[in-house]
């Protein structure tokens, strides 16, 4: 370690510091709003840290790789966490309850996500994933009353533990074959090891894939998703859907790229199976959902299926367009999903009955801003032009065509066509005429929804600056 490495680690250090300050604050004076402000300042400083660290991109020990790509995602998930923080303020401030620990957990979970994004070694991958995951269990179960959060947390805990166990076993097998734990080391030695003992590499990578598949809720490892999405408090669901899944996907892409795993056709086939299953299962099961959070859960399964197509194309294309597509897709997905959860959170709160699609009837007429935002978010998820989701799909299809993945594209078309139905159901419900209350969200939340809505539209209708920026990463 030298001095510049500390500069490279600025985001991680600032987040850790924020966590410590929060702990000290809790021991001195327990106050919810102070904790909120500290967290907000911490995230803002982290954003600054991420831009500061851009001048110090380098590998930090063998564990972490700080480069422009990972710093971009660090900023993205920090921004997403800020959004979650704003949404959390009302959710976790009922009178007389002490909820400061929530903010500590949030900061720790973001810290885990940042480590995960910057990991270049299996140890840091596991550390980041566990730090993020353990904090998330508690966040999901945070509401003291109510069975659904508890059920969700237990399901997530048990299945995550299984996933981690598989991941570890996979690491062990790969280590046995190559004697390496860093991605680059695996990339260098795996080919030789594969020639000696192909089963060890294959089985090991497959176990890793399964472990990560759980976290990304790819079919057939998706069983926990709807229950956890529904049970968790809405801001936490938003966090899980965007920050947690995004970070895990980045880790997977790095592992896949740097470990040069795309050269093994067996693994690619496994990814194809996961992608096809996710696109079909996700879209199909979303059709019959009545609860909007469950609907979004299944929709996210499908979306990560689409995104996998890009990773599969790595075997045919150079990494430039691939990482550009992943960046655009994850950004678009994050912004869109956050918009959807922001609206669900402000409109429905934590009342399960209000989260039914039928409870959104008439929203257009009593809360036009929120309804417009949710409409645009749904259109973006469905991939309609002028929204960010369309440009994201544009990237996926372009990559797919250039790598001749016609079968996957056919499934993508079928999946998207099915998807339009359930996204439209939400819009249709909102456009119905009903009597309703005219209650409105607070100004901060309104501003947030407006900003998210604008970013979906800007990303979709004028993507050139962002594409140019991403291309330069």
């Amino acid at each position: 370690m030298n001095a510049t490495m500390f500069s490279s680690l600025a985001p991680i250090l600032i987040l850790s510091l924020t966590a410590i300050v929060l702990m000290i604050q809790a021991s001195v004076k327990r106050d919810q709003s102070v904790a909120w402000v500290i967290t907000a300042v911490g995230f803002a400083l982290t954003l600054w840290g991420a831009s500061y660290a851009r001048d110090f991109t380098q590998p930090v020990t063998i564990l972490l790789q700080v480069d422009h790509w990972s710093l971009f995602f660090t900023s993205l998930i920090t921004l997403a966490s800020l959004v979650i923080l704003v949404l959390s303020r009302d959710t976790f401030s009922p009178e007389g309850e002490r909820k400061e620990e929530y903010y500590l957990l949030l900061v720790l979970s973001v810290l885990g996500a940042v480590v995960l994004i910057q990991s270049s070694h299996m140890v840091s991958l596991l550390l980041g994933m566990e730090l993020m995951g353990v904090a998330l269990y508690a966040m999901i179960a945070f509401p003291e009353r109510g069975q659904l959060p508890l059920e969700g947390a237990i399901k997530y805990l048990v299945l995550s533990a299984c996933a981690s166990a598989m991941l570890l076993y996979g690491f062990a097998l790969i280590y046995a074959a190559t004697g390496e734990l860093s991605y680059a080391g695996i990339g260098a030695k795996a080919a030789a090891a594969f020639a000696v003992n192909p089963m060890l590499i294959m089985a090991g990578s497959a176990m890793v894939l399964a472990g990560i598949g759980f976290k990304l809720s790819l079919a057939p490892f998706h069983m926990w998703t709807p229950d956890v999405y529904q049970g968790a408090p809405t801001p936490v669901t938003g966090f899980l859907a965007t920050v947690s899944k995004g970070a895990v996907f980045i880790a997977l892409s790095r592992f896949y790229m740097d470990g040069a795993l795309y050269q093994y056709s067996g693994l690619n086939t496994a990814l194809v199976v996961l992608a096809v299953a996710s696109m079909l299962v996700g879209n199909w099961l979303a059709l019959r959902q009545e609860n909007i959070k469950r609907l979004l859960a299944y929709s996210s399964i499908a979306h990560f299926g689409y995104l996998l197509v890009v990773l599969i194309a790595l075997a045919h294309l150079d990494a430039g367009l691939i990482s550009q597509s992943i960046t655009f897709y994850l950004t678009a997905y994050t912004v869109t999903t956050l918009t959807a959860f922001a609206v669900v959170s402000t409109v429905a709160g934590e009342d399960p009955a209000k989260q039914d699609i039928s409870a959104f009837e008439g929203l257009f007429w009593h809360r036009p801003l929120e309804a417009s935002a949710l409409t645009v978010a749904m259109l973006s998820l469905a991939g309609i032009p002028l929204t960010a989701g369309f440009m994201a799909k544009f990237f996926v299809i372009t990559v797919g065509i250039q790598s001749d993945l016609w079968g996957l594209l056919a499934v993508l078309v079928v999946g998207s066509a099915v998807g339009i139905y359930y996204y439209l159901r939400v819009i249709f419900a909102m456009s119905k005429s009903t009597e309703g209350d005219g209650q409105s969200a607070n100004h901060l939340e309104k501003l947030l929804v407006l900003a998210l809505l604008a970013s979906i539209l800007v990303l979709g209708s004028w993507p050139q600056p962002f594409i140019a920026y991403v291309g330069g990463l």
Binding site: W365, L379, A382, I384, P385, L386, F394, I397, T398, I401, Q402, L409, V413, S416, A417, I420, Y421, L424, R425, I427, F428, S431, S433, P463, Q464, I467, A468, G471
Partner: protein, 511 residues
Amino acid sequence: MVMVNLIVILLIGGLLAILSERISDTMPRKVAMAVVLADLLYLLICLSGMPEITQLQAPVANDPSTWLMHFKADWIPAFGISIELALDGISLLMVLLTLVLGAIAISASWTDIVVRKGFFEANLLWSLAGVLGVFMALDLMLFFLFWEVMLIPMYFMIAIWGHENRGYAAMKFFIFTQASGLLMLISILALVAVNHSGTGIWTFSYFDLLNTEMAERTAHWIMLGFFIAFVVKLPGFPFHTWLPDAHTQAPTAGSVILAGILLKTGAYGLIRFAVPLFPEAALNFSYPAMLLGAAGVVYGAVLAFGQTDFKRLIAYSSVSHMGFVLLGIYAWNELALQGAVMQMVAHGFSTAALFMIAGSLQERLHTRDMREMSGLWQQMPRMGAVAMFFVVASLGLPGLGNFVAEFLVLLGLFQINVWITVVAATGLITGAAYSLLLMQRSFQGEVNKKWANYGLIDFGSREMLTMAVMMIALIVLGIYPQPVLDAAQPVLQSLLELTASPTVDVVEVAQ
């Protein structure tokens, strides 16, 4: 810039319509009407500075400087996507049709829409803006964007102001067109990728993509993606099933726009993109396409004959009439293409008028069931006479626009394939049968006592004025179709030259 302004005026007009609802309840429709008429006037003023359409030189398909208007600006240079709009004779006809029918649709919504008028007129104007974009965009990405986005306001028009089964109809309409749109997106991207691999340049411009060299098999599959998307919109048999539901459930103004304009985007896409981009593949596919067209003519007519719902009958008659367009396009000679273009214009007016009559009946009787109508002529003579005019126009009475269109299509088709012509010609007979049936059941016959004391109001001056516009249009098209033919002729000529060699092959095979 003129073309950009045309679209922007409509988009801003939509916002104004929403805002104007705060001033008064009747304001939105006036604002919307003013906006559309202003748009039309603006276009006509800009055109007056151009050479007479009849003296147009033939625009060279792949040279934008020979077109009437051309506009290009960067949009997403990373992928060679630009905002490229251009206007030639055919797109000009379609743009004029769109704006005129847009004004008619607003007139149709005058009393029909009772709730959320501002938002309705806004959706109407926005969908017109989208359609204008479709007719003018010559960057394939921009075209796709307009193609998809114009559906969203249409979806809202059906879903919010539609009739009893609107949710189902709106959903079906949207899914059919979106799913086929995705196929087109993949085709567009595949075409661009083929061009990129050959030239190393990313471009979505129509002018650059014409003459893209590709293997026959590749061209066939890519062409099929375009074909399906356009035929679903047209709609051609067997992709027509969304149409009867959407047309029947939409509010009157929505039906007018759907039948009058939106269907034409499919035909326009075939003429502009599906055939010229892949001349050989498309013309090798002309027999299946013509068979689908003939099947549509007959099948649509048979189903129309069996309907009891006034609007549904007209909807199925559209399937039949659009079959002629498909036939005309894939016969791909000048006569038949002229007929297809003529049919697009004439059908736009005749169907729009019939849907307006259907809407007026529903507004007065609160039913569309023809079994409950009878002898309405006696109570509403003006409406009856108007209906009679458009019914005979629709069945192809000589002297009116539709006759010219269908006659030209059959004439052109006869040179290509006699048997398909024979089958398609039966559509004229069945057309007469269902059209007259419509008239008999609703306006003639014994007076249904149910309506005797219902206080039915005949067409007023606003309705008569609207109808008169369409009547004059059809009569002019029927007696003096030359201006339309002249506007389309140079474009068709250059398209035929572009695809010249394969056409000869097809003709030879046919004979």
